[in-house]
Symmetry: D2
Subunit: 142 residues, 4 copies
């Protein structure tokens, strides 16, 4: 139960910027940072020892996004190696929060930071509780 306070708070994962992710300004299109946040969330789940798809397939639980925000500080460019750092934030009963930092790997420069809030729903999209064994991961009261 106390375990997660001793675990590293965040999980890092790396993506290479794809040509598809750039726009005619020559930098990564702003909506794609939200895709990277998703990559960060999935990596965070793996680091905690489960697959996000198991949550969906085995437990009929999905994390529907309720809020997303991003601050863009410096543009990412094609072929940049990008580190996505993901951490969970304070959670309420049916709402889970993640925080993200996006950095250029080579320089460590902070390119963007953001947050998402998620409502746990079942496949009919109704809010439900997370299964007991997952609650600790998301800092939800057990």
């Amino acid at each position: 139960m106390r375990r997660e306070t001793r675990e590293p708070e965040y999980v890092d994962t790396v993506v290479n910027v794809r040509y598809a992710e750039t726009d005619q300004m020559g930098v990564v299109y702003y909506a794609n940072y939200l895709v990277w946040f998703e990559v960060g969330r999935v990596a965070w789940c793996h680091a905690r020892g489960f697959r996000y798809s198991d949550l969906e397939r085995q437990h009929d639980r999905m994390m529907m996004v309720a809020e997303a925000s991003c601050r863009y500080r410096s543009p990412a460019r094609f072929e940049d190696e990008i580190v996505i750092r993901t951490a969970v934030g304070r959670a309420a009963d049916k709402v889970v929060r993640f925080r993200y930092e996006v950095r250029r790997k080579r320089t460590g420069e902070l390119l963007a930071s953001g947050e998402t809030a998620h409502v746990v729903v079942d496949s009919t999209l109704r809010p439900v509780r997370l299964p007991q064994e997952y609650r600790k991961y998301f800092l939800l009261p057990e």
Copy 2:
């Protein structure tokens, strides 16, 4: 049964090029033409009097893409108005074919042309027959 030979062979629909669809070459990224082909297919269904989503929801039938090809002749650019012309091609029992032309609306210039082939499947992704009442639309033998 003969009806479709008297109907117009193709259906035109218009999209405006989105900034999101461009890449750092300053033109539309090549994969997005396949998204436009999908927009063309959906418009084609509407023009035939049904919604593609009805096929999925009411009849448990989906058109899984089996092949796609595109020839790119001249680049589309941000804010171009684009006409997608869609027609069905010769079909076999469980395979439906579409052909597409993508033109700049203002000039009529041909920007790209392509084809897709689709296998009719149910929600378990197994090949199945299209419901009787839809077969004529797709030039399938009834």
Copy 3:
């Protein structure tokens, strides 16, 4: 100067949800709302009498996104007709703000709302002033 106070404050534009925009939850993937916000901004510019691409090509001015946020209230689905309502918010010297509402056209239901903040930059991505004749549109002091 007075003109824009008499103009409608917002601009509505309609998109049809594409299959490409859905995800395996059966609803529109959350990052795509930011693409729709862009569609709203471009429509807003057209309604004001100019093309966003003219700003880029003729004036070497781009609106680089500095912040984006979205609250998701109810999911959009494939083939929904969606109304994107766009308005400018209070602007500072080099920062322009937009607000958005995303509604299902048939029912008027609010699906999402959001905001973006943009820094006006030139093609070297340095912050610059907007050309004089455009400042009124964005509620910038002239």
Copy 4:
């Protein structure tokens, strides 16, 4: 000059399927395979010892896609690890060809295969020759 005949003909790279890449059919949307082909091309360039972006920035050369095709055999799903195998095909003076195979890493199952043809252009999008030192990589006559 002899080197590449002894190098393996193909280059493998791995991607994890993103939630963003799925659609409401529960599988990867068909246009995204063309994005993966791009990931394969970029990995192929790296394996040959150069960055595709250097070609653009230092030599003002881009590989504009002229043709793309894909055959879809079995669907990729969220969180699948996917191997993209990329090889160059026979090239003509200003046209470069790539071939791709997309496999599920765990099972080796072939999910899709495809080809692209590219015209080498400069930043005005006019066809030009590749710089001499790159021609060998793309099996172009020197």
